[in-house]
Assembly symmetry: C2
Homo-oligomer: 301 residues x 2
């Protein structure tokens, strides 16, 4: 029986997974164990701090349900989600639109609506038009591309968080026309705090951080033969653009309101957002043509 | 607005906690963020793997309640708990008894019993005597030291896990006599699996690991002016001594059964365990004299 020391305990744990039948799982868990142990050694983590960590995870687990995902908030606020997103797109061409966080509020099954329709229903707010094109990196317009769109209401809440909003409010799916164009109506999004009444909120306060995200509209853009694009457009001038609590904002995704043409589908608006989404060709191994979004898995939140 | 890259995202997150008012929290979170990010970069963690991690933590949170602590099991099975324990005792004298894991089954408030009493009640099993001394590193016997003792029944279950055991079965507190001696009766402990019907069990299976702990008896030994000792005695010959699922067993804590004297408090036994616990002097800043056990915090499990 070997004597256990600060370094030999790591070797012992790694020996124990030497028979792991899945080489990728073994690789991921090896790195996880090494970094977890090195973290504890480096800061000389005390039993009291370890206990605080256990209590934090326990509280996060207990606040998590079908409509609230505290572990995703944790990953988002620690920058892990943004990093996974960037790593995932290591090989994506510089021509393609940058990706941004999916976030915890995506829902499958938003209604497919005709071009020009509004996703805002009766939601009070300043009406806007959102329009543009979907194209490939070499400039080809992509007809029939599917845009899955969602955003928070001007009160900063998604339908999932707000009993005064109807189901699927401010969500919709649109298909581009023959020239690759899309357009829909909505109301201006506003900056909002991520849910901060749980352990992640307590963590942000203890760290001296604010919980705000800059105003944005989420998009998943999918077309056969191209990588799914999970991204969002951020509104120029928002005070939280440079300090997004979840590190989602990107300079290339910032859009300004411009004076609009006045009417769309008979409804008035004064300002418009225009943006062209550029899709990267699907990697040979990717199943992107299915229209399934890997990061969303089977969750409905 | 800075462009985010695989490395700059880490800098951005660390900038965000630059105003953290608590220097130790800042130090711990800085190391945590750096290692978390380096882990994700090193293995190029995919969105699907990230999602599996979120789902794992969510499931662990949902299985955790007053009697089940999946996050402690996770920490234990990844060797983190053992490492924190070793780091905590970096400065402890080599003379003192080695510490071992508290584990998730400690309960406050076990009954204080007279020396020689049994903690096993009517539990079926092979009766044993456990006896020895508590002393300081320089050999001084410690009278009135408090031993908090707990173990699983021969069926491998703690009272908390087994509705057929009375409350506080196989738990007791004993005070050493004037010569620093203690003795109590029990039944032989057996090796047992940690709870493996949850996500940690699934993880162990995927890694090709078994869930067994070698047979052991837990102790917390406390005396005014000395560090609390959280440890356990492991039974010689147990097949899992070298592959404890939670990395708790230590060579210096392995004890064998010896033929016993035959009777204690009028009850027969054939075998006995003898062990002397050696306590380290309390660090000047430690509150060890209070009899409180920091690692247990306020939890009753």
């Amino acid at each position: 029986m070997q004597h256990l020391t600060e370094s030999s305990v790591t070797e012992r744990v790694l020996e124990r997974i030497s028979d792991c039948p899945d080489p990728r799982l073994k690789q991921v868990m090896t790195a996880l164990i090494e970094h977890l142990h090195e973290f504890a050694r480096e800061v000389a983590l005390t039993p009291e701090e370890w206990k605080a960590g256990i209590d934090f995870l326990t509280a996060a687990g207990h606040v998590t349900d079908e409509k609230r995902q505290e572990f995703i908030l944790l990953s988002d606020t620690l920058g892990l989600s943004a990093l996974v997103d960037i790593v995932q797109n290591r090989s994506r061409s510089g021509e393609a639109t940058e990706s941004s966080l999916l976030g915890p509020f995506y829902r499958r099954g938003a209604p497919e609506l005709p071009l020009g329709a509004s996703i805002a229903g009766d939601t009070p707010g300043e009406p806007i038009l959102v329009h543009g094109r979907v194209r490939s990196a070499d400039g080809k317009p992509l007809a029939g591309a599917l845009l899955d769109v969602w955003q928070a209401a001007p009160n900063g809440l998604y339908d999932l968080q707000d009993e005064n909003q109807p189901e699927m409010n401010l969500r919709g799916r649109f298909r581009t026309d023959q020239s690759g164009r899309f357009r829909f109506r909505s109301v201006k999004p506003s900056s909002y705090p991520i849910p901060f009444d749980g352990p992640v909120g307590a963590m942000l306060r203890a760290l001296g951080r604010h919980p705000y995200r800059p105003a944005h509209i989420h998009f998943i853009v999918a077309a056969p033969g191209y990588e799914n694009l999970i991204t969002a457009l951020y509104i120029a001038g928002d005070p939280y653009l440079d300090s997004d609590a979840v590190f989602g904002s990107r300079e290339s995704l910032v859009v300004g309101y411009r004076p609009g043409d006045g009417k769309e589908s008979g409804a008035p608006y004064r300002e418009a957002i225009e943006y062209d989404f550029v899709l990267a060709p699907a990697a040979e191994t990717a199943a992107a043509v299915s229209g399934d979004h890997p990061q969303t898995g089977g969750r409905s939140v």
